[in-house]
Amino acid sequence: MDLSAINPALLIASLMVAATPLLFAAIGELVVEKSGVLNLGVEGMMIVGAVAGFATAVETGSPLLGFVAAAGAGATLSVLFAILTQYAQANQVASGLSLTLFGLGMSALLGQSYVGVKPPQMQKIDLPVLSDLPVVGPILFGHDPMLYLAIALIAAVWAVIKFSRIGLVLRAVGENHDAAHALGYKVVRIRILAILFGGACAGLGGAYISLIRVPQWTEGMTAGIRWIALALVVFASWKPWRVLLGAYLFGGVTVVQLNLQAAGVAIPVEYLAMSPYLITILVLVILSADKSSAPAALGRNFHAAR
């Protein structure tokens, strides 16, 4: 065992990178669920975002445009879900799952000519002096802009939901759509906007994997994040900062366990391998002891005439 081989600063820096795709996907899903819609198509939107972002970045040479395209692609795919559930009144669980399957298939088709291509690299933010600081430099100031955007997004969602009128309306729709409708709020319109936001966020998360974390395009490359983003929202009891905590915990334990393995620590590898899931869920379950529960109208379809 040689723990000195582990560099804590690099470890924390890489856990932040590992957690960011999860952060994007989970915060998007949180807003969707706050509006009372359960979209299980997160992975479908992520993978489509991953391939659209990758393709755009390769064709234009600009990773930033890639992320814009990824958000657009994720939102576009979520329109399908919005039409199915908000207008056609289809079952949300089934629609979400089929969205995932559709997204996986379509991305494989779209990505065929991009296998093995190297994407343009996104410049890391380089602040003179600050980025060169020991320990603090690589942790706080040495990342790509998207990582900071993810954290800013968490803060923004938290502030909007907690303090603004828009947040209040969103929550009203999610808690009791009939009452919100009676007050004159456009339930369907608000939900569609929430779904679009969720789609865009998932798309960004996918593109973060294909453009920064890996970086390459491979079919089915979102495999590791399949359900954890959804679970995170539930175990974080629909609170943005807990999503951040959960995502960093999950990313953190994932990176730490690989580091411990490489350093030859004598803990059975099976325990290390399952630890990210176990520890994240355990911590969040303990935190959610305060009984904040799911939006009351979660997963229920709304029709004005009923």
Binding site: S14, G116, T218, T222, V255, A262, A263, G264, A266
Partner: protein, 358 residues
């Protein structure tokens, strides 16, 4: 109960009907653990499938299912294929071993071929694998010469004999040319998860490894090594030439096409019997990808010499003296390992740190 019975008999009837209809073209099924576009393991199996189609044309019909999880889900997929009238089914991952044998027991007329396993419970099951460890010997030789930090990172998938064999073979040959070499081994517990594979590669690089060997299926570790800079890698299962000449300096290429064609032919001719095939570089089932210019000429020559001696059988990758990890003797000087021990290999050789997860 009634409904389930009805459905089962309907399914059986359907299976019989399609089997009768499909009498003309031979139907060959493939079960894959990853997507055909993984650029590695599954990609090469699918190349084998395409070779079968190219060889027999209309006389054969192939079907495949991608991303089949190892375990109970595999049993469902294999059963489905058998019900749909497949005459021959290739299951291409170690974890399909029990599902394949379970389904084979229920469909005595269907032939099953399981890759990298060792169980043949009924006489309609064959097993086949390639001696990847011969390729690992060539890799280890290059890796031992090329490393400057003397730390070689190894991304393992699951702790099964096939993977352990690869680690041992690479270590023995790296050690032979560079006595100071050290292996850092990380188990990913997945065959295919690009993000996790990339993380594992990054961790190993952060801990000082400048050579990354992988036994997982995607090209993500190659991309991570490329991003990190001064690190070399080897293509796994497929050439992964798009990452050459650096980081990818060579590769192990699986060539399943000749085997798949021969076995399909055997089913057509009615000569198929249960066999256990284990071919290496000599038979062409394991190929060594072009060694790139990033490798000095004399190292390249040495690697090719080992490849040649493995191919003609004059050298065995596990030739004594070799001790087990605990220091006990395994092979005496000049003694070579027998296939039985290799097939069930569950120990590291002397010099490797760490335990194999049990």
């Amino acid at each position: 109960m009634k409904l389930t019975n009805l459905m089962t008999s309907a399914a059986v009837a359907l299976g019989l009907a399609t089997a009768a209809l499909a009498e003309d073209p031979t139907k060959v099924g493939f079960v894959y653990v990853g997507p055909v576009g993984d650029g590695g393991w599954t990609y090469e199996h699918d190349q084998g499938r395409k070779a079968v189609v190219a060889e027999f044309g209309d006389k054969v019909e192939t079907v495949y299912v991608e991303n089949v999880a190892e375990g109970p889900d595999a049993e469902r997929v294999i059963t489905q294929m058998a019900l749909q009238g497949a005459d021959l089914i290739f299951t291409t991952s170690f974890g399909y071993m029990d599902p394949t044998n379970n389904v084979a027991a229920k469909f005595p007329k269907v032939k099953f071929e399981h890759a990298t396993g060792y169980k043949r419970n009924t006489d309609n099951v064959s097993t086949y694998s390639a001696r990847f460890y011969e390729g690992r010997a060539v890799q280890g030789t290059i890796a031992g010469h090329m490393t400057e930090s003397n730390i070689i990172g190894y991304i393992g998938s699951y702790p099964i004999p096939e993977v352990v064999r690869g680690i041992n073979s690479a270590y023995i040959h790296a050690k032979k040319v560079n006595p100071d070499v050290e292996f850092k081994i990380v188990w990913a517990f997945t065959w295919f998860d690009p993000a996790k594979e990339a993380d594992a590669a990054k961790v190993l690089i952060e801990q000082g490894a400048d050579v990354i060997l992988q036994h997982t299926d995607s090209t993500a570790p190659q991309a991570a090594a490329q991003a990190a800079g001064n690190v070399i890698t080897f293509g796994q299962a497929s050439d992964m030439a798009e990452y050459g000449p650096k980081p990818r300096v060579s590769s192990i290429i699986d060539d399943w096409a000749p085997y798949y064609i021969a076995r399909t032919k055997a089913v057509m001719d009615g000569t198929w019997t249960s066999t256990d095939t284990w071919d290496g570089i000599g038979a062409g089932m394991v190929g060594i990808g072009e060694i790139s210019d990033a490798v000095p000429a004399e190292v390249k020559a040495e690697a090719l010499a080992i490849k040649a001696s493995l191919a003609d059988g004059s050298y065995h990758a596990f030739t004594g003296p070799i001790n087990k990890q605990d220091g006990s003797a395994w092979l005496a000087a000049g003694e070579t390992a027998d296939d039985g021990t290799l097939a069930g290999m569950n120990f590291y050789v002397e010099g490797i740190d760490g335990d194999i997860p049990q």
